[in-house]
């Protein structure tokens, strides 16, 4: 520390001498570089002022008393700046700590979502889910049961970030306790609703759509808890329809009934589930219309399900200048044969 001080003193002295001698821009540039070094060495503004005065006193003998005294005022003022600077550093450290905590939490959250690939002869499945921040309030799931049924879900917790993420994990845990209801979309949502209603803030709620595809009779059974409607693509007619079902969002009332619906899928038909982060994308300040989304899906429909969702995400992300406003989840399930 003492050594640094002495070498800093010498450096500063050389710099100031050179500048006073020829007023060169070069010396000023040197000073700018020097300031970075001072900050690296944790030198405070008040120490810098004091350094300047002591060097100056050595270089210019017999400084007028007023000049020397005026530095008392400058020093006093600089103490405040020094404190603010230190506080800033400490807050920056804390921010880094919080960031790394969030990174760990985000990794944990990712492990709650399925990531194994499902490759089946019966269906082609693709999903993308990207949080607006580090953690996501969107939930999705896909799972295969012993009869070959493929269950798919997309849920959306209102809000985003950590509070939404905590509620999202509640859905995951509750789903895990209800394996036998994976082929009963209505009963599944009724059970989830009871869990959510008991454990969520009064002005929060979750929307969810759950369905499963039975490859034996080619029916898709589904129910919705106030969730953003999805789409069904009819390959024969080359037409998109809304996929919706009536039902209250989860968490409002303890006793809610959900009535499942069903539809037949022909080969090539597919189901699209999404979170409102997809439809709340703003392009040129305007929300994208559902028709625009349909046009995009149509444009990529010759690709695999995973390629379609990836392409759409990339296109929308780019259109919004890579700033997601809300968590984004898009899932496609297509009947292959």
């Amino acid at each position: 520390m003492e050594e640094t001080k002495i070498s800093m003193y010498q450096l500063y002295k050389d710099m100031l001498t050179s500048y006073l001698a020829n007023k060169s821009e070069h010396a000023l540039y040197h000073a700018q570089q020097f300031s970075k070094e001072m900050m690296e060495k944790d030198m405070s503004p008040e120490e810098t002022v004091s350094l300047h005065l002591s060097v100056f006193q050595e270089l210019a003998e017999d400084l007028p008393e007023e000049v020397v005294d005026s530095f008392d005022i400058l020093l006093e003022v600089m103490i405040g700046y020094g404190l603010a600077y230190r506080e800033h550093q400490s807050l920056r450290d804390r921010q880094q700590q919080l960031e790394s905590e969030l990174t760990v939490a985000a990794r944990m959250q990712k492990s709650l979502l399925p990531h194994g690939e499902i490759s089946l002869d019966s269906v082609d499945l693709g999903v993308i889910s990207v949080p607006a921040g580090k953690m996501s309030g969107d939930y999705y799931d896909y799972a295969l049961d012993e009869h070959g049924n493929i269950g798919v879900a997309v849920a959306d917790v209102i809000g985003k970030g950590v509070p939404a993420a905590m509620s999202m994990s509640m859905i995951k845990y509750a789903m895990d306790t209800l394996p036998e209801q994976r082929t009963q979309p209505g009963a599944l949502l009724e059970n989830l609703n009871r869990v959510v209603e008991r454990n969520i803030d009064s002005d929060m709620f979750i929307t969810m759509m759950y369905g499963f595809y039975d490859p034996n009779n080619h029916y898709f059974h589904y129910a919705s808890a106030g969730h953003e409607p999805g789409f069904v693509y009819d390959a024969v007619k080359d037409e998109f329809r809304n996929l919706e079902a009536k039902g209250l969002v989860l968490g409002v009332s303890p006793k809610v009934r959900y009535f499942p619906d069903q539809l037949h899928l022909d080969a090539g038909d597919f189901i699209v589930l999404l979170s409102d982060g997809v439809t709340e994308c703003r392009v040129d300040g305007e929300f994208i219309e559902r028709e625009q989304l349909v046009d995009m899906i149509r444009k990529y429909k010759h690709l695999t399900a995973q390629e379609i969702v990836d392409e759409i995400f990339q296109e929308l992300e780019k259109a919004q200048e890579f700033q997601l406003r809300d968590d984004f989840t898009l899932l496609i399930l297509r009947r292959k044969v």
Binding site: E76, I79, S90, L91
Partner: protein, 133 residues
Amino acid sequence: MQVQTHVDIHSEWGIVAARQAGRKLAREIGFGSVDQARITTAISELARNIYLYANKGQIQIEEVTSSGKRGVKIIAVDEGPGIKDLRRVMEDGFTTSGGLGAGLPGVKRLMDDFNIDSELDAGTSITAIKWLR
């Protein structure tokens, strides 16, 4: 014989008097101008806290020695409302965001040793020491 000064704080005049006493002692012990300014800033902040939140209290300033080192010790005592959540007032960005100056974390940074005791409805006592290097 060690020097000890008591200054009652019930107006801004008291704050200035406490600063004066602190600077005088710091100079006598041999602190440089930067540390003198730091010690007086710490005294200011502690005295202002008393003035703003407790109305009345006292600043004591004395010389301390420990294993051959000399230093200045500031003790700020008040019988004010006390501090409910010490952890929060010691957090960066808590008091300063309200425009209240350096706050207690600032005092802690300006000095070498720092200790705070507070009891609700009874008062607060803060001790801070700066050692001469």
